[in-house]
């Protein structure tokens, strides 16, 4: 199959999902309205992840899409991925500038020049809001189930790159050995969970899309240490190979950045597994068809459909 043929097949899958009104396009590229059909699948995936995590977690938290702007600085996200960041601007000038805003609107001019940066930003990665909330001394290791939301500014028609998406995570914070064990244990558990849904995945050592020339060095280091392992499904030709879950070892990066220390005064190490629930839903539609009622019985049963 030529690469043009693959492109057509992939565009065809997107058109089919939109045509079946499983997702609805919006005015913003990469942003979709989601049907009850799509969300029922997502809810099933969330339930499976929660079940898999239930024995180990000591807390379950629902994390916000909006964070303090300073989080981007302290997490290192801004220095690593400036091109993906979404900062929130607002009209802060008061009534004195209101007339100028209206005049710009009336003349279809640039009203954005009336805006100023606020102290807020969109959350760039599901689990990031958790770390400031764990600041302080950790008397025992923690395992937290987190329903995270993320925004990354990379508009495209690729359904696997929605601008906002959810990451259902299980986060470990504690010792260096515990963090590595969390990563290694969840590679197998995530593969098995996805396999139960008829999604065959391969663990692949991966790197984050660090920005620019300096980013190449950071990505090389991340790969050499196998800090990030993605579970990649190959659903060609309908969709390009995509990571459905990723398991990350952060070493003491967040412990240092957010002042989370262990009883021995060392910065805590952390690791997380994140399930991309929209991507898993997309993979299910690609693998089993656009009509969930026609999916294999075992898959329907696991998802509670």
């Amino acid at each position: 199959v030529s690469s043009d043929g693959l492109e057509e097949e992939r565009a065809g899958f997107r058109d089919a999902l939109l045509g079946a009104r499983i997702l609805l396009a919006s005015d913003a590229k990469g942003v979709y309205l989601r049907s009850a059909t799509f969300e029922a699948v997502v809810a099933g995936i969330d339930r499976l992840v929660s079940e898999a995590a239930s024995e180990e977690v000591d807390d379950r938290l629902y994390l916000p899409l909006v964070v303090a702007r300073s989080l981007l600085e302290r997490s290192g996200f801004l220095a690593s991925f400036p091109d993906l960041v979404g900062a929130i601007w607002g009209f802060l000038a008061g009534e004195a500038s209101f007339a100028e805003l209206l005049a710009a609107l009336d003349s279809q001019g640039d009203w954005t020049s009336q805006l100023e940066a606020t102290e807020l930003a969109l959350c760039p990665a599901g689990c990031h809001p958790l770390y400031p909330a764990l600041r302080g001394v950790l008397h025992k290791e923690r395992r937290v189930e987190a329903f995270g939301q993320a925004f990354r500014h990379e508009p495209s028609n690729d359904l696997a790159r929605m601008l906002t998406f959810r990451q259902h995570e299980v986060v470990y914070v504690g010792s260096p050995q515990g963090a590595v064990a969390h990563r290694d244990g969840w590679v197998a558990r995530a593969k098995s969970l996805l396999g139960g849904l008829g999604l065959d995945t391969e663990p692949v050592v991966a790197s984050d899309p660090f920005f620019g020339r300096l980013g190449a060095l950071l990505a090389s280091q991340q790969e050499d240490e196998a800090l990030k392992i993605e579970l990649v499904a190959n659903l060609a030709p309908r969709v390009a190979p995509m990571a459905l879950a990723s398991v990350n070892c952060h070493r003491d990066h967040f412990g240092r950045a957010f002042g989370i220390v262990r009883a021995n005064d060392e910065p805590a190490h952390s690791a997380c597994v994140g399930f991309g629930v929209e991507r898993i839903a997309l993979a299910l539609f690609a693998a089993h068809g656009l009509e969930p009622r026609a999916w294999p019985g075992s898959v329907r049963e696991r998802l509670g459909l």
Binding site: A79, R213, L214, A216, L217, L218, S220, Q221, Q222, D224
Partner: protein, 82 residues
Amino acid sequence: VDEEIRAVLAAHGRLAVDVASLGDDDDLYELGLSSYASVRVMLALEERFQVEFPSEMLRRRTFSSLGAIREALFVLTGASKP
């Protein structure tokens, strides 16, 4: 050259040991060189030696020891080895 590399490591490497005691093959990452510190070291080396690391040299091993950094700089400056 070694003294200048040591000076860059002292200023930007945030190592757990005294750079004066560094051996040629000591693993800098094991001695506490973080990812971000290695980026700062790379930028400082580029400025001091007036070179630019090409993308194929932007690898972990390029900055993994004093000896590896010296090798890389020899390649970039075209200087012959002592």
